[in-house]
Symmetry: C2
Subunit: 218 residues, 2 copies
DNA sequence: ATAAAAGTTTAGGGTTATCTAAAAAATTTT
DNA sequence: AAAATTTTTTAGATAACCCTAAACTTTTAT
């Protein structure tokens, strides 16, 4: 049984490790958790004692199989709650993160299974991120940043990489949403910005930063 | 801003004080919170410093206007969540309490207003308890225990007084629910038990304890 | 290769919420 | 009214989580 704080650290480690594929440094964790390295070291010892991560001094941490399973359940809860907030309570996609950060820690297996059923077993959340099922599995669609796309193929917006409220609000404003079809009309050499056509209807320019934050399939 | 624990203490004080009408003793709080009197004294000092209760040593506490408002918001959240769990996620009424105890502490005014709207502004929860509106007001229907009813008038089940899971399961089993119509067929002198007719269809005997725990209108 | 810089851990504290044991006050009993 | 009992408060600890400052290790630069 993990505490609220332990769950948050574990989730951060899971994300920072690229879903558990690489080791994570103390400083990276301190950065994302907005704490000091000393606090991270304390928590690392706790999570290590609970076999959630393996830890070697000065070398960073690796998430264990068990830790990954726990982290995936927190991610599952977070994404199911975000889906609920948008689909049922009509939150906009830029309003859901902070509330889901709280809701993800509610302890009740029954609740999350019933919520999943109520939402009809969604596979992606409002930001296009995959929702692990109750065994921790999820579909991995190979997505690339829009900035890496070439030519004028039919492109579908699949997810945002960094879902900050201001970026999401900006996307809404220009008419970009998950599932939208876009075509690249022109790439501006000078600054890497793109002129794109959204749903064959609307032309807009987006910055390189924005195009790097949009994950798409061709 | 109150902590999770402060909210729980305040809610307990609100209930123990009869919605803020009478003073509450340290020992009563310790009893319902499953803590020691010493811990209660500590918390009383904190809540008093935050002007949620007024406190005089050795005399128990009284909830303030501000404290009552805070407690009502926690009660509102608890009851809205219970309603959600039963109506939307199809929990049974004996399964909701513990989950709602967690959900009631989620901090988001937007969430609770949207939830209220999603549920179409319910006025009572699954146990028949009134749900305060966003200003803290709620309809008070004069209810009496079934045990205090006389004669064979048409009686409507309105609420349970003590909603313990085992009592609720028992009610489901014998066919008693909020809104059911009952008639008293006979009062057994020996033990105060009642023979009742439910919805004009089913006769059952219920103990005095059970009849004292059912709140009704005549 | 060694000195400087960067990153990490340890040491020592602070806060919140809990506890036990002892002291103090109020209540009940004789 | 005094003694006994009960209730409440105070005193002193503990655990979780976080901090700063100092010590230690690793990495980078000269």
């Amino acid at each position: 049984m993990l505490s609220y704080t332990e769950e948050n650290y574990l989730k951060a480690i899971y994300h920072l490790s690229g879903s558990g594929t690489k080791a994570v440094l103390t400083s990276e964790i301190a950065e994302t958790m907005n704490t000091r390295a000393a606090s991270v070291t304390d928590m690392i010892k706790k999570l290590s004692a609970k076999n959630m991560i393996s830890y070697e001094k000065y070398y960073g941490v690796k998430i264990t199989r068990q830790g990954k399973a726990e982290a995936l359940m927190v991610v599952r809860k977070h994404r199911l709650w975000e889906t609920f907030l948008v689909q049922k309570l009509h939150f906009s996609w830029d309003e859901v993160h902070d509330v889901a950060e709280q809701l993800e820690h509610i302890q009740s297996a029954l609740l999350i299974e019933k919520l999943d059923e109520f939402l009809e077993f969604p596979t992606v959340d409002p930001h296009g991120h995959p929702i692990p099922d109750k065994t921790g599995k999820f579909v991995e669609v190979r997505q690339i940043p829009l900035s890496d796309c070439s030519g004028k193929k039919k492109i579908t917006i699949r997810a945002v990489r960094n879902g900050s409220p201001s970026f999401l609000q900006y996307l809404s404003k220009i008419g970009v949403y998950i599932g939208a079809t876009v075509a690249i009309l022109e790439k501006i050499e000078f600054d890497g910005s793109l002129e794109i056509m959204i749903d064959g209807k609307k032309k807009v320019f987006i910055s390189r930063e924005a195009s790097q934050n949009l994950l798409v399939t061709e």
